[in-house]
């Protein structure tokens, strides 16, 4: 009862408040976002591409993630679903021209996945709040609520989102019972392993990387590993000019 009443009130309230209210709230929220609220986390990741490239053709993190989350292996690139993958440098960083840098660096692929932006365009456009930003910075997905309109896919500047064009089950050899699969018609992406973080574990990709190329932690904690790494070395973020403020940092 209480649930229904709350839902009803929310519906009525939101409808009345309307666009003006929504836009205003977003502006206020955005302006307060940079000042971290005490006690909240800002989960982030730092990637060291040099370490990542140490072992040629290594896909440990991708394998671990896709196995842990029942991500189907669909060969057809048009129907493909992926949470974390290797992208060519010019695709991951189209605004970073590096013509004269050693080709060994720019010809190699870059590890990419959801950026868990501070100001995520996918969340802004979702008509059902099936994707939203948690207080700790994770851009979450609710696969029970997604209607499959793919507006978030159009809104994401990083191509991080995949749509289930068909039922993914036949493409999974042995799904793990620890994580749901998805159904056809919903959008999915990396959720920063919210299910593992909830248990105090590191994300699956971080744990799987033997070269320790991925560092995960809380940006609001000045002593965290991510902050220490970012203090010492310069890092890039994908399409920083768009103002999305990604949480994934690439060391230069």
């Amino acid at each position: 009862m209480e649930r229904e009443r709350r839902a009803l009130l929310k519906l009525a309230g939101l409808t009345v408040v309307g666009l003006a209210g929504g836009a205003l709230a977003r502006t206020v929220e955005a302006s307060s976002k940079h000042a971290a609220k005490p006690g909240t986390k800002r989960l982030a990741m730092v990637i060291d591409p040099r370490k990542c490239l140490e072992k040629d053709g290594c896909t440990d993190c991708i394998g671990a993630c896709h196995a842990a989350h029942n991500v189907p292996a669909i060969d057809d690139p048009r129907r493909e679903v992926k949470w974390i993958w290797k992208e060519k440098f010019s695709g991951a960083f189209p605004d970073q021209e590096a013509e004269y840098v050693d080709e060994a660096l720019t010809s190699k692929p870059v590890l990419v996945f959801c950026n868990h932006c501070d100001n995520p365009p996918c969340v802004r456009v979702c008509p059902t709040q099936a994707t939203w930003r948690r207080d700790d910075g994770i851009v979450m997905m609710d696969w029970h609520r997604c209607i499959g309109c793919r507006y978030c896919v159009a809104g994401c500047p990083y191509g991080s989102r995949s749509f289930n064009w068909v039922d993914p089950r036949p493409f999974l050899k042995s799904p793990t019972p620890d994580f749901p699969t998805r159904t056809k018609g919903v959008v999915e992406k990396c959720t920063f392993c919210d299910e593992r973080i909830g248990k105090g574990q590191q994300p699956a990709c971080v744990e799987a990387c033997k070269e320790k190329a991925l560092v995960f932690g809380d940006l609001n904690d000045p002593d965290s590993a991510v902050r220490q790494t970012l203090r010492a070395r310069f890092a890039l973020r994908r399409k920083a000019g768009l103002g999305t403020r990604p949480a994934i940092h690439y060391l230069v």
């Binding site: 939101l14 010019s90 365009p121 059902t128 209607i147 793919r150 191509g159 018609g185």
Partner: protein, 385 residues
């Protein structure tokens, strides 16, 4: 009033049966899509919206264009449009219905579509599009019903309907503005992220819609006793001329800004449309056909002689409608996804089930127009029962 649609000549029933056949085909194709998923379409991870969303966008324009007959009649008291306002309103109802169906068939989880109302999200433009489209549908349904009912009884329409009609004018502008905002607010898609998108949508709507209305008037004159009269059709033609000229002007402004600024991610989309990218050029012949048709249409429309001649006017209207259908109903949406934000160039062409579903929805729209126009003309005694 509905009973008027249940009596008709053989050719009327033949036409209805033909449309019903197309609708059935579309329905069967949709059942397959419902069972298998959107994998039956030609869409892909990179091109996630295609034929359905493009038709939706184009038809929002057709729906909004009703305002081009309603506004002169009710605001400027231009009496000659009195006979055709109802045609415009019925066209709007059918077009909005088609829009909603196109959105519906594009959903990956159609059974959950009411989540949009269950979890209203004002920061999503899709929420506002739902409100503006359903509001517009309601307004036009109410207005056409009340005015036609008054006409049947031979009395003046009630006074309270006037403010509602006036409200429908800005509302028509709003549906296409909100639809443009769906696209123009996305930083991820430079091709759409242009402030002129909404004005451009309105210009193309106000040329394609009235062009269609002219064609309808001429078809009706041929097959029924209804005659819109020469003067209103000529006035509509002037509206089409101005709107089409403005639309072409806007498109050229887009091309200039993209090319002169030299920003690759803006140019690439135009390259894909008009020259082809990485050997992928499925849209190139279409886009050039659209450009050539636009020029032909403008020449025929701007010249008073050819605009005044009904044969050339028909050609001009068909050219306008086809050119804009290609521009908005094919090019505009697809090119937003090619190249992708990662620079990938992916070809898209709709699959057979996808085309059948789209044709089925158009058949539903044309069926509605047929029935509505039949009712309207029967009420006026302009068609033999």
């Amino acid at each position: 009033m509905l009973e008027k649609a249940l009596q008709g000549s053989r050719s009327y029933w033949g036409w209805v049966a033909f449309l019903a056949g197309l609708i059935l085909l579309g329905f069967i194709a949709y059942m397959r899509q419902f069972a298998v998923g959107l994998g039956v379409t030609g869409l892909s991870r990179d091109v996630t919206w295609g034929l359905y969303i493009a038709q939706f966008t184009f038809l929002v324009g057709v729906a909004a264009s009703a305002v081009m007959v309603v506004l002169p009649y009710y605001l400027h008291n231009y009496k000659l449009f009195g006979k055709i306002t109802i045609l415009g309103e019925f066209l709007a109802i059918s077009a909005v219905t088609m829009c909603m169906l196109f959105i519906f068939v594009d959903m990956g989880q159609p059974t959950r579509v009411l989540n949009v109302m269950l979890y209203p999200t004002p920061n999503s433009l899709m929420f506002w599009d739902m409100i503006s489209l359903s509001g517009y549908l309601g307004l036009n349904a109410l207005i056409s019903h009340v005015t036609l009912d008054a006409e049947r009884k031979g009395i003046a329409p009630p006074h309270w309907i006037k403010p509602i009609i006036i409200l429908s004018i800005p509302w028509a502008v709003s549906i296409h503005t909100v639809t443009a905002f769906l696209y123009s607010g996305l930083a991820a898609r430079p091709f759409w992220m242009t402030a002129i998108l909404a004005p451009r949508f309105l210009a193309s709507a106000f040329s394609a819609g009235p062009a269609l209305l002219i064609l309808f008037c001429l078809i009706l004159r041929r097959f029924t006793k209804f005659d819109a009269g020469r003067e209103p059709i000529q006035r509509l033609a002037v509206i089409v001329t101005y709107a089409m000229a403005i639309n072409v002007f806007f498109v050229l402004m887009e091309v200039f800004t993209a090319i002169y600024s030299g920003i690759p991610e803006h140019i690439e989309h135009f390259e894909f449309l008009y020259l082809g990218l990485e050997g992928k050029a499925t849209l190139v012949p279409w886009m050039w056909a659209s450009a050539i048709l636009s020029v032909i249409a403008l020449v025929l429309l701007i010249n008073p002689k050819t605009r005044g001649n009904e044969r050339t006017l028909v050609a001009a209207c068909i050219a306008v409608f086809t050119a804009l259908w290609i521009e908005k109903g094919l090019g505009l949406i697809i090119a937003g996804f090619v190249p992708s934000p990662m620079g990938a160039v992916t070809s898209y062409s709709p699959s057979i089930p996808e085309v059948l579903i789209a044709v089925g929805i158009y058949a539903i729209g044309i069926f509605l127009i047929t029935v509505f126009y039949k009712i309207a003309l029967s009420v006026r005694g302009e068609v033999k029962v």
